[in-house]
């Protein structure tokens, strides 16, 4: 079983990428479980044709821990099993602890199984709860999703710090699998993201260019794989899914200082 976590800045396109990767893997006949770990709980929406599924934390809040597995896991496109952790209202409680409670419940229900588990995790929040997929070896391969924008690179670099710190524990199996570039139409963006990946001791595993097909698919409440299966963008996602599945190179990253990160971005901005 491959346990893959996609981390990145909020709004960078982690959910879109995760959902399309899951769809691509599922089309190949793999048993895929996608877990959305963002309190805004929209990770699996496109796999569910726009339906926002109930979150584990809402169910926990209303029913305690006596929840049947059918209430937690919903089957989406091509049989992808979908879970949303959810979270508290903004400004109250501890969303990180909510992630931990979700994983504990899924484990208790025997739901953490399949060929591939995809954890779609917010990267702006760097508390222990959000690092839980890495820390407790739920996720063994971490992929950083970033564009060429500085704030996005900053979040990716922060996650690289977490991977570096957590992998120092001898029990830990977490490693960085690579960087996924999610293009925002910035000049030389792929080169910038590739250089960032190398600078932290990793590599660019795939670069997904910006495409209007993604927005069209989302407006139709579908993944690109489902909405436009013959499109070039669907092909990009399939190739990305293959690249990740075929990846055997993992590293412990060496995160950049903020000065190094800024000068890297600044150099590309000037060019």
């Amino acid at each position: 079983m491959r346990q893959i976590a996609l981390y990145g800045k909020g709004g960078i396109g982690k959910s879109t990428t995760s959902a399309n990767l899951s769809a691509a893997w599922a089309e190949e006949g793999r048993d895929v479980l996608q877990i959305g770990c963002d309190p805004k709980h929209d990770s699996t929406r496109m796999l569910m044709n726009g339906t926002v599924i109930p979150t584990v934390l809402d169910l926990l809040r209303d029913n305690g821990s006596a929840i049947p597995v059918a209430d937690v896991i919903y089957t989406g496109y091509a049989g992808v099993r979908c879970v949303e952790a959810g979270g508290p209202d903004p400004g109250v409680g501890c969303a990180g602890r909510g992630i931990i409670a979700t994983f504990q419940l899924l484990e208790k229900l025997g739901a953490l199984r399949g060929d591939i588990i995809v954890y779609d995790v917010l990267g702006d929040v760097v508390c222990g709860g959000f690092a839980m997929p890495m820390r407790e070896s739920y996720a063994e391969e971490v992929y950083l999703v970033t564009s060429g924008e500085l704030m996005s690179l900053y979040a990716a670099n922060n996650i690289a710090k977490a991977v570096s710190r957590l992998s120092a524990n001898r029990r830990s199996r977490v490693r960085l699998g690579g960087v996924i570039g999610n293009g925002k139409n910035i000049d030389c963006e792929e080169e910038l993201v590739a250089e960032f990946a190398e600078a932290i001791g990793s590599r660019l595993i795939t670069f997904i260019p910006r495409s209007p097909t993604v927005q069209q698919a989302e407006l139709n409440k579908k993944t690109v794989i489902e909405y436009a299966p013959a499109s070039s963008q669907a092909e990009v996602y399939r190739l990305s899914a293959g690249a990740i599945l075929g990846n055997t190179e993992y590293s412990i990253p060496t995160p950049l200082t903020i000065d190094e990160l800024e000068s890297l971005a600044y150099r590309y901005l000037k060019e």
Partner: protein, 345 residues
Amino acid sequence: MPTDISRSEGCTLTGVLSVTGFLEGAVTVIHGPSGCTHHNASLLHASLAEIGDLEVPRLVSSNLQENEVIFGGEAALEEALRAADELRPGLICVVSTCLADTIGDDTAALCREKRSTPVVHIPGAGFLGGGFSEGIKNALRSLLTLSSRQDRISRDGEVLIVGEKNLEYEAEENYCEVARLLSLLGLHPGIRFVRRMTASDCARISSAPLAILRDPGLIEVGSDLTRRFGTTVLPGFPVGPDGTLRFLKDVGEAAGINPLEAIRDEEGRLDDLYARFDDLVGAEIRIDSHHADPAAVAAARTVIRQLNMTESETGTPLRLPFDPPIGTEGTKRMLHLFRRCLGRA
């Protein structure tokens, strides 16, 4: 740079409870996991039993569990406030714990809401470095908000006693000694803030023009008293013979009373005391000042000089009292302790 969060002096919450637990008619709501309440109730029970008091203060826990940690504990606090209110208290003290602060509950805002019973919020989380003493200060400073200058009813000769060590073995003896010394100046203790005072008396804190702090560590509470109510504050109970005479002088001056006669009386009382312990004169002794309170060491050295005792490496070791001796009576108890040490040698 590591932060000093030494727990050697105990939990902030315990410090708060050592104050609010002695407020008669009040209920304390501990906003946190039930473990915080259980641990402190056990601790208070053991400490109070040690000093002959078997009554454990009324504590209510908001009983935060995983659900509240994830979704916030403010609803649980509301429920705890309702449960506390059913006990018909004169005041509800709400103490926030480390957990409530960590998850970001706005305990203070909830306490500010209008209710039939007055509610006061006291910060009790010590995870950023606070300890037992911080808890005492937080409690006293928060309770000051229940009084105002408008509530002021001046009572002649009344002195506010602030921050007695309620869990101390000799709290009552020390209070009686301070009351005796005040009486030499024609003054008397008013509200004991807070030891066995009623919740409704919180409104009267502003009344006394003069306040005496239990020890100088409470100086921030004293500053609040002065700023809020214009109270004149003396920074501590009298320690040892020198401190006792200085206390009479300082209180007299603060209250506009000539202290000379009171000082002469007390000097005579001290002479009588030394005479009663003349069997200790000339003894060869040794005191270990390493872990002792400096004020206790200074008081001990004063009586050692008065009784012509000599300090030497080979002298009989003298045990110092755990807390510095308060007034002449405290000095007397210290001399009894010395006599027991020398008697055993």
